[in-house]
Assembly symmetry: C2
Homo-oligomer: 269 residues x 2
């Protein structure tokens, strides 16, 4: 089995002193900008390389500059090694300037005895069957979305695709199924891509063009099982040029596996 294109795109090579080499991959660019989730997945590869815990429980990312598709470095500095959690600062640097500043707390998942076995899950959002959903590659949307859909298979809920026909739903919602076009089981790195892969939920209000993410934080809540992931994106406030977007990721077994929120800047239509 060769590597998937996604795994090639997020590969990092260890250098010395906690540094890693990587190159942003233009196969995952949209309108010239490499997808933020792909960059995050590379950063996680570097952080997990020396993490004492297996999972990136909490990842905060501030996007500072658009990276070019030229060699870059990831600098990993561990701030804490604890029994339950460890925290690293990881910065993606290009030409000596920080492009993406992240903080990653790693920890364990999957021990139901933790917390005295107490557990509770909110109701899962609903999606129509995948065969009733619309492949985003076929949607007549803005040219901006012609990029990484060669590698990423997103099937949108018909209730949230009106914007592709200039008929936005009037609600900041975007829902659909997500998987790579090549066979590959979901893991933490793929979740990092998933939380930043939907068209902006505000397209349900109006197509606003390129909308750069300023800050994105996501939490890994369970190890995802195989199969397509369900993505549920919503927003709560669009104001003064800023909007929020929350994405829940559920695996095919019905487990909430990731939650994200990002703050983004309104594009120009």
């Amino acid at each position: 089995m060769g590597l998937t294109v996604f795994d090639e795109a997020i590969a990092v090579q260890p250098a010395r002193d906690g540094r890693y080499q990587m190159t942003p991959d233009d196969r995952f660019a949209i309108a010239g900008a490499v997808n933020g989730g792909v960059l995050l997945a590379s950063v996680l590869r570097a952080v997990l390389d020396t993490s004492p815990h297996p999972h990136p429980i909490a990842t905060s990312a501030h996007f500072l500059r658009a990276p070019r598709t030229e060699p870059a470095q990831i600098e990993v500095t561990w701030l804490k090694h604890g029994r339950v959690a460890a925290t690293a600062r990881a910065t993606l640097v290009q030409d000596g300037r920080p492009v993406l500043e992240t903080t990653v707390t790693t920890g364990g998942l999957g021990d139901p005895a933790e917390g005295g076995g107490l557990s509770w899950t909110g109701a899962p959002p609903q999606l129509p069957p995948i065969q009733e959903c619309e492949d985003i590659e076929h949607a007549q949307g803005p040219r901006a979305f012609s990029g990484y859909v060669k590698y990423v298979d997103i099937r949108l809920d018909p209730a949230t695709v009106g914007w592709t026909r200039r008929q936005p739903s009037g609600r900041p919602e975007m829902r659909g199924y997500f998987q790579l076009r090549e066979p590959r089981d979901p893991d933490a790195c793929l979740l990092a891509l998933a939380v930043d892969s939907l068209p902006p939920a505000v397209f349900g209000l109006a197509v606003v063009g390129w909308s750069p993410t300023v800050e994105l934080t996501w939490h890994m809540r369970a190890v995802p099982g195989p199969g397509p992931l369900g993505l549920y994106g919503t927003g709560h406030l669009l104001s003064d040029g800023w909007f929020d977007e929350e994405v829940e990721v559920w695996d095919s077994a019905g487990n909430l596996v990731a939650q994200s929120r990002q703050l983004a800047r309104l594009g120009r239509g």
Copy 2:
């Protein structure tokens, strides 16, 4: 007018090279641990001191160690100065060890022309009138909540106080009004306290004792008007010893002014 106790608690003194001196204030401690929101407010004081933009639009914080109520330093490093946004890394350090790692993106708010004037707000959550809500100081809850309520006036929605009488509601929800007991208008620093001031929403499922915040990110969405703030806390998943909590803050004029999400660790009951 003297400073409020809160303003005393979050004061920082500029030193040199982007460093500030501060001392975590035990008047805002709960069970010996100074409230995370108060620490964040101190960090924001330091960041805003040299920020080219007025508001902390996006603040990500990873809580590494419980600070002692002894002198500490805040180290501020600017990573980007942009026209729309600027980003700083700010670390609270005690005895040479990082206690709280934050990244703060600052920017502007209040120009409705930004984003082409496009705006949208979700429906505001509902709270009963303040006189029907229960002062948390009088609630017969765990001793742990006897701390900073001398300075912070939180009035809980009666629908979310059952846990104080060993009758949790069965839903991870916590709602109420928030203000300081001393007269003081809300601002960014008070919002940082507000988003981390409610009893954990999971108390609606079971009182789980001290539940340390591992990561908290909050977004400032509007400049708050005067008057009590409305806080609306919910959770979506409690599993493997971790839980999330989202808090919306609405001002008395009915504007969504802040949104937060935190990931916390279940305490031992």
